[in-house]
């Protein structure tokens, strides 16, 4: 049982009475129809003006101060609502479903992309603690926003049949509050991501070749890559640019008290949803490739170290640099860094007691 605390019945009744009264007043002031045109619909002229069907701006006069205060019915808003319900929501869900299915199909057909010769155990440091914290902060906040955002976008057609209206309204209310609160956190995380990784994500010579070979899927032979290859760089800029679009449009939506008109908010909403759907769709691919889609990739963001064979397979130009600078460490050294030895606490304590 849902308890709504605000009782809106009395104000609604008063509003209806005022509207009826105003309607009678305006009827009395209606100009006579032009010769030869007799409208059979009562109040047609009034509603034509109210809904601005002639395309002219017919702002009314209101004591209420604020943008759009003199507009009784926003026809643009009507179009936006129809676009949201009939286009954005269904096509957005179809796009996400298609991406998901394509990835599942790809995994079934291709399987996990392995490394020639397998993993060597010898590692190279790839990401610092700070860089991984930034990555995972952004990832956690993004996933939370994606889930709550999709509840708001697709909840009516998908969740109401499953949960019922009352449970869905509760979920949507909670989701909306969480979504609005975490939005600015996403922007801060995004800026942290921008400043942490931008230097290594500038496009350079050789990236175009990677693109032309489809990252290795087109043609024969190895595709050359630096610290970040073309695909990773492109993903980075998609995250940054679309993330900024989503963040700015989200701020326009979440702070309506800065004088922006409804049309600005409606455009912001459409951009927000379109950007979010694109980002979610591409992020599904990123999550797949970064986890069980490619052998050895996840280690980089888990421990900060990657296998040298993985580096040679995907980032040969960086691998050359690692060898030249002698950055490759042994499996034992890697285990020591991760504290594998220290995990056997008794051994360490015994060694300390013996003064070793």
């Amino acid at each position: 049982m849902i308890h709504r605390e605000s009782d809106v019945r009395i104000p609604t009744l008063l509003l209806l009475m005022c509207m009826l009264f105003l309607q009678f007043q305006v009827h009395a002031a209606d100009p006579p129809p032009p010769p030869g045109m007799v409208s059979t619909v009562p109040g047609a002229e009034l509603w034509r003006k109210v809904r601005q069907r002639d395309g002219k701006s017919t702002d009314g006069i209101s004591q209420v101060k604020g943008v759009d205060a003199g507009i009784l019915i926003n026809t643009q808003g009507d179009r936006w609502a129809r676009f949201r319900i009939n286009k954005l929501s269904p096509y957005g869900s179809i796009a996400l479903a298609v991406v998901f299915l394509v990835i599942v199909l790809f995994f079934v057909l291709r399987g996990k992309i392995g490394i020639d010769g397998g993993l060597s155990g010898r590692m190279v440091h790839r990401f610092s603690d700070y860089e991984r914290i930034v990555h995972w902060t952004l990832a956690i906040v993004f996933i939370f926003l994606a889930i709550t955002g999709l509840i708001l976008l697709l909840g009516r057609p998908l969740l109401i049949p499953l949960l019922g209206k009352e449970a869905f309204s509760l979920l949507a209310s909670a989701g909306k509050e969480g979504h609005n609160l975490f939005g600015p956190i996403f922007l801060i995380s995004l800026l942290m991501m921008l400043f942490s990784f931008v230097r290594r994500n500038i496009y350079e010579k050789g990236d175009l070749t990677w693109l032309l070979k489809g990252g290795g899927f087109i043609g024969e032979g190895h595709v050359s890559g630096g610290f970040f290859n073309m695909g990773e760089k492109t993903w980075y800029w998609i995250v940054i640019l679309i993330g900024l679009l989503i963040s700015i449009s989200g701020l326009v939506l979440v702070m309506p008290n800065f004088g922006q008109s409804r049309i600005i908010m409606e455009i912001s909403h459409v951009l927000h949803v379109l950007g979010a759907v694109v980002l979610i769709a591409v992020s599904i691919g990123h999550m797949y490739l970064g986890s069980f889609g490619t052998e050895g990739t996840a280690e980089g963001m888990k421990t900060g170290y990657v296998d040298i064979n993985w580096v040679e397979a995907h980032h040969d130009r960086w691998a050359k640099e690692c060898h030249e600078k002698n950055l490759v460490i042994s499996a034992e050294e890697y285990a020591r860094i991760l504290g594998k030895k220290a995990e056997s606490g008794e051994l360490l304590a015994t060694e300390q007691e013996q003064g070793k």
Binding site: E5, R132, T137, L170, A174, K176, I185, I188, S189, A342
Partner: protein
Amino acid sequence: MIKSLIDGPLWYFSLAVFCIGVLWQLARIVFTAGKTDLSVARGSAGSGAWRNIFTRFLPRKEIAPQIGIQIVAGYMFHLGLFALLFFAAPHVLFLEEHILGFGWTAMPHWAFIVASQFAFLGLIILWLRRMLNSVGRLISTLDDHIAAILTFIVMLTGCFALLKGFSELRLLHRFTVELLLIYFPFSCLMHAFTFIPSRAFTGAWFGRRGIDA
């Protein structure tokens, strides 16, 4: 049924466990007899205690660069949580009506939102550092993770209930608060009460021996 349980017996039970548990733990620390220090004092224990209480708010310069993000996130989380706990309008009202009988000026809504965003971001970063830093991961216990996740859930359910339109969301928040209250005295969360005595004790010990630490 569930509503009356959460608003009634479970609330009083969790409050009792929290109060008795915290007092018990503090008493245990205070009344645990330590060895009497018979050495000749080389400095003032009192000034050492006070110095240690305040100087530990900042990291030592030798290690500050390595733990910069931990320090920033730590302050973001703790100050944000403090502001939320004692200056959020719903909390001030609750404390006035149900516990203290008096209230104080609450934060404006925008400050409430900013404080909660600081707290959330700080907590996420702190927990991630615990998970991702190899030393942090090694010295972390299950208690540390439970405390962080439980605190996060309490804050999250609080933010879900912001609209105040659904009593179920308020109940969910209150239920998670009750879980936290019950867990609190037996966990690392006790540092909220022990960090000052702990610093003072260590500082006094150092001060008496003339150690400048």
